[in-house]
Symmetry: C2
Subunit: 337 residues, 2 copies
DNA sequence: ACCGGTTGCACAACCGGTTGCGAAGATAAT
DNA sequence: ATTATCTTCGCAACCGGTTGTGCAACCGGT
């Protein structure tokens, strides 16, 4: 049983005015007299009129909404990103439509369709780990649809991207572990389909090679979920020659790593050191607070939204060239190394 | 620089057909011949046609979108709720528009306007802790706009609500602490403007009275954010007669409580016991895993969405009476008590 | 040849807000 | 009094997809 919200026409009828006059009165158009404006506003209030944004955006293609697709809203990274995005979005007078792909390629494609079908003026995406085919994005980019990738960006596609310099940050993190005297350093990485996982693994390997440490697959575990991270880390800890330090590439993997360490009863950092990409809220949940690389969630959100608005607001004839923004993921030393 | 997406008219022109025929062909209407349907589908593919959902929803008021307003997407409770909601929403062929109020009354009102202005067919809300005036909700409910409150529900307003039986669950939690021999039980609660905080405090007090324990304000700390929870808990722990157990009413407060305990260097559960409303992912992040009351996030999400769809799909003449669904927050004993 | 029924499609209205254009009435300038 | 200008507002089109209605063309039966 829906409702009959008052329209602009209801106001017009009450005052024996035309639609256009009411519309202009509400938008404070100079053509309309002060008395009429006041009358219109009074009746609007009386009928508790609420403008139907869809009608206007439908006609003029300015929905004032931008869309966001994230793999999932859990833990602390993506919520931080969202806060960063919201800040910029609200500042520009826009609103944000949030969708989760739940790490599903199909859901991601469908979400993209939903956003386009709903006339959003631009889209921010962090791709799902299942996504190997990027044609659904390419279609939009080819049409100059404003689109910015962040964190989990895509390869082989000309587009705006915002991410931390993963290789360098990982290099620094592992270097730090070596500085602290760790000899056997493991890595708990995510799905290697993702560029971000590849790059963080690359930084890890580079650091080992740089310090003339051996690189062995035995110390590399790759996992999709915290459960799996816990399981694989536990297997690693149970080997004859377990690592004395672990680098976790995200808060999800870190969560699994820490669970395994807890269950194994190891002392951090005495028996095993731990470092990873973790937001402040997350790192301080542990005792002692973890040593981390700051994943820059908030800043990534801000930067992505800013890039997007540059594209949205670009009325110039010439196209903005595609840009990639790298943020520096700084090291924060806690008690876990 | 926007784009010119293909419309149904472009397809019609190419094939010398009318708009209506193309529309019906795409929707597989029986009136249209198989050959025409195939031709339409071929051209649609060729032009990479994407239907403009706004146009249709604008005309027929069936946007197939429902809106969600949460205070914030952090920690683990609301993400769980969102997963529960999504399950039901997708099953019904709808989509979900997520907005954060960021605990701001103004933002909440604005978000509500945005959702209505965007023709969502129903709204799910967990109110901000700043909200004391509920007239913005009342306007909608009076118009039979489908609206369901969950978790942080409202008082003095006839509406559908979904929440855990907070009084009973809290009663059980504190009872459990007493069973474990704790004598001085503190509570870290949230903003007492919220009914949920009031009820959880009520359950706490009832349990103490039930077991003939004194109820003193000295053991009651109320806080808005994890930072504040940490600070207030620390103050409590530093008093001459600190509690030997703390009941935290949410994962946010629990996070602060645990930080204070860590900083104070207390052993859990030897020196201090801890229990609270925490999702599984959160409770197992600690070592040992916490004793908790299951906050039923996923189930709350499911139940709220189901109530909402009952209202959305109700074409009957008579109105559905408002219902309140209570879920049981079961106790899960971990190592913290 | 006539009639009833079916098939396949076109026409036009509709949703609500915005805006270009035009026009009536008031006022000012000549 | 006539013309030019300004003020204030109405008319109608538009956005894109959906659907009620209508109507040719065709088919089969008598």
């Amino acid at each position: 049983m829906p409702n009959n919200p008052a329209t602009i026409l209801d106001i017009a009828k009450r005052l024996n005015l035309s639609k256009s006059t009411v519309s202009r009165a509400l938008r404070d158009h100079p053509d309309i007299s002060q008395t009429t404006k006041e009358a219109v506003r009074r009746v609007a209030e009386e009928l508790s009129y609420m403008p139907n944004a869809v009608a206007a955006s439908f006609r003029y293609k300015r929905s004032k909404v931008i869309g966001l697709i994230v793999p999932q809203i859990s833990y602390f990274f993506f919520p931080s990103v969202i806060r960063g995005i919201e800040e910029i979005v609200y500042k520009n007078g826009y609103n944000l439509l949030i969708l989760q792909s739940n790490e599903s390629f199909e859901r991601e494609k469908e979400n993209l369709n939903i956003l386009v079908a709903n006339n959003v003026e631009g889209i921010l995406v962090s791709v799902s780990r299942k996504t190997k085919d990027f044609s659904h994005f390419k279609h939009l980019i080819d049409r100059d649809y404003p689109l910015v990738f962040f964190d989990r960006v895509v390869t082989d596609l000309e587009a705006d991207c915002v991410l931390v310099d993963d290789v360098t940050a990982s290099f620094n993190a592992v270097n730090h572990l070596i500085d602290r005297g760790r000899k056997k350093i493991g890595i708990c990485t995510g799905n290697l389909n993702l560029l971000i996982s590849q790059n963080r693994l690359k930084g890890y390997k580079m650091a080992l090679q740089h310090r003339n440490y051996p690189v062995t697959d035995d110390y590399i575990v790759s996992c999709e979920w915290p459960d799996e991270a816990e399981k694989r880390t536990m297997e690693l800890l149970n080997t004859a020659n377990p690592p004395d330090a672990i680098f976790a590439i995200s808060d999800l993997t870190m969560s699994g790593v820490m669970k395994a360490i807890f269950r194994k009863g190891l002392k951090v950092p005495e028996q095993i050191a731990v470092i990873g990409f973790c937001e402040e809220t997350f790192r301080t949940m542990y005792n002692p607070p973890l040593s981390v690389i700051h994943p820059m969630g908030f800043e990534i959100g801000q930067a992505s939204a800013e890039l997007l608005f540059e594209r949205i607001n670009n009325n110039a004839r010439e196209k903005i060239p595609y840009r990639t923004v790298y943020l520096e993921g700084t090291l924060e030393i806690g008690g876990s190394t």
